[in-house]
Symmetry: none
Subunit: 401 residues, 2 copies
């Protein structure tokens, strides 16, 4: 159920503070069937001490079996059902490189590709060209001018780039050019809605010029545009929850997602210590803090089990500094699982810990996947964590008489 | 939530095999408050050994408190929310007797009834006439001819029969004739949609002739038609999941439900051993196998607790033969509970076991209702089992970036 409307109706002001400590990709797997997960193996005396006083459980980010990207994983943590509130790939790609997307920009994910002499796509990724080649080609594409519209072209990496169109009257609701299989011609961008027709014309004009500039190159002699989208105009968190929300994250993607829902993105440094300092420095300014730790995920993607254990131990070491600020509610979890064993995001449930006053502590004495299976929160969904945290923070009034 | 659309978007090919071992009516009840259920009492060393390495839990077929029929119980196992994807009673009744329903057939469930001299229904089941009487009356009804349409009339049992109309342009969306209470006249079949008007005329003509033929009989001198429906045209499993699905079941109803969603129904014998042989024989041909065991349910309906225990032990005995095929994912559960104590389907949750690689085994060491209460799958819904199985079979790609 999507109940942001209900939350918005019921929210009341309170002098309470809520922290969501998000260890990206927190959920793990044992390397052998009888082994321990990264979190279980980590020496986490502070998390375990907190678990004793808390409610623990396992949480599903999107739906059972669904492996979420970072966008859906975080939206759900903030109470937005990602199946209801979709963010286009172009927008996510722009956020991922820290592009300062404006509300009416149309962003597309671009892929350099290889076309044969008949214009058929023979390699959808142009052999994953080096990022340096990408940068050189992007310089060329930046010379393309469109009437009445600013264009931005930015390298992501390898064959991937971002195209952003900025100007009056741009609309999304556009089809993609990638035929998705090789041996087929590229598609023309078409408007799915009449209002998007002029934007489709502009994008096709840009594509025609891009292909003139890329012609003759090898292996990248063409490009495709996918996920052409605007900022979806998500409901803003301050209006829904009635609180001032601050985001502390070191990576562009997470800062971008926070910005999309109206959080203030706070300047911080590169380390978790920097992030803790930022939290302390802004403690008086906000009611809700999104505190993001990236490296649990990065080392998961790398398949580096011991490094994940170390990052978790590092967070555990800094936890007392966060608790010393005396938040009224703290939720500790991740956006999705990234088990080192799989070197990838996965669909597995995540351990979650919720501490606040006036709860009924369960019997969990260690913060880990297996102990959380028997936790008092049970099996929960990410979208339910925000309303629960608001309730424990005394920020929701009674529903009905 | 119904997320078959999402599954279809995310499915990818993989060289993996999934088995759903469905013991019909598996969930049971203790005969005395301190007793054991059928599954708990059964000696199941192989199931228990597998449980040690698996995730266990309890699953709700449709919704809490809802006692499902076989149709909804199975649809939900296959990922179709039965509250979204309804199958008409006429279709289910036809499937239940193994009638080879075609996509444009309109099927109705028929009930012989008793009418008084004023045409009011005085017994909606005609005193549950013997099946032999039913067969004699059905012979009469088979003589009815309709213009441009073939009709089939088939005995089910006692007062129940099936009527199927076959021909061009037949439509469903028809009302029923049974007033549902006694002392009222029968209703005329009406079209809920304009396109169904000609079909309503045909059905009413058939009914008029049927009443001429039945007039004067005792106690069955009339009949009612209910649940007039066509094959609902359910989304096909191969398209949703991207796999080849084979069904191994000995009873018509389950073969019929499997056929409705596009599984190949495999020829097999009458015993569970025969079904295992069929599984072995077709192992290379399919990615997903629905393996149905009927007698756990039949003996439940009979109230035969020890016979249910024996069937479960029989399945346990054959389990190693199934595991020897090395499925990548195996799910063991039922479509609903049929406790011998109740002699009926029931609303109780069902024990469920999911084994695959890359899971976090829980602490359950015995496959039974009470041990499963504390299992790592928690309390789950049937419709979530298929997406979970697909995820563990590496057949779902990431959702969102």
């Amino acid at each position: 159920m999507d109940y942001l409307d209900l939350i918005e109706q019921l929210q009341v002001a309170a002098d309470t503070k809520v922290v969501f400590l998000v260890m990206d990709g927190l959920g793990g797997l044992p390397l052998t069937p009888d082994g321990m997960t990264e979190l279980e193996q980590a020496h986490t005396p502070n998390l375990d001490k907190l678990a004793v006083r808390s409610l623990c459980g396992l949480s599903t980010p999107v739906a059972p079996g669904i492996e979420p990207g970072s966008g859906p994983g975080h939206l759900s943590l903030f109470g937005y059902d990602p199946l209801v509130y979709e963010i286009g790939r172009g927008v996510l790609e722009a956020l991922g490189i820290g592009f300062d997307l404006q509300p009416n920009d149309v962003a597309a994910r671009g892929n350099f590709c290889t076309l044969d002499e008949n214009g058929l796509v023979v390699d959808r990724r142009a052999g994953r060209i080096p990022t340096e080649t990408n940068q050189r080609l992007v310089e060329k594409l930046r010379t393309i001018e469109l009437p009445g519209v600013q264009t931005f072209v930015e390298t992501v990496k390898e064959h991937r780039f971002v195209l952003v169109l900025r100007g009056e009257g741009l609309e999304d609701g556009l089809t993609e050019t990638d035929p998705l299989v090789t041996g087929k011609p590229q598609l023309t961008v078409e408007a799915r809605r009449a209002e998007a027709e002029p934007t489709a014309v502009l994008v096709n004009r840009w594509l025609a010029k891009a292909h003139e500039l890329l012609a003759g190159g090898r292996p990248a002699n063409g490009c495709n545009l996918r996920g052409l989208a605007k900022d979806p105009g998500l409901p803003q968190m301050d209006e829904i929850c009635g609180w001032r929300a601050g985001a502390i994250a070191t990576y562009p993607m997470y800062r971008g997602v926070a910005k999309l829902i109206g959080m203030d993105v706070l300047a911080t440094g590169d380390t978790i210590e920097d992030e803790v300092e930022t939290l302390k420095g802004h403690w008086a300014d906000y009611d809700f803090f999104f505190f993001h730790v990236k490296k649990t995920d990065s080392y998961g993607e790398d398949g580096n089990f011991p490094a994940r254990v170390e990052v978790i131990e590092h967070v555990d070491h800094l936890l007392p500094d966060i608790l010393a600020l005396e938040p009224n509610v703290i939720v500790i979890t991740g956006d999705h699982s990234t088990p080192a064993k799989l070197k990838s995001h996965s669909w597995h449930e995540l351990p979650v810990l919720l501490w606040a006053e006036d709860m009924r502590p369960d019997n969990v004495t260690q913060f880990g996947e297996r102990p959380c299976m028997l936790g008092g929160l049970g099996h929960i969904r990410h979208v339910d964590l925000l309303p629960l945290a608001m309730a424990y923070a005394r920020r929701l009034k009674r529903y009905g008489a």
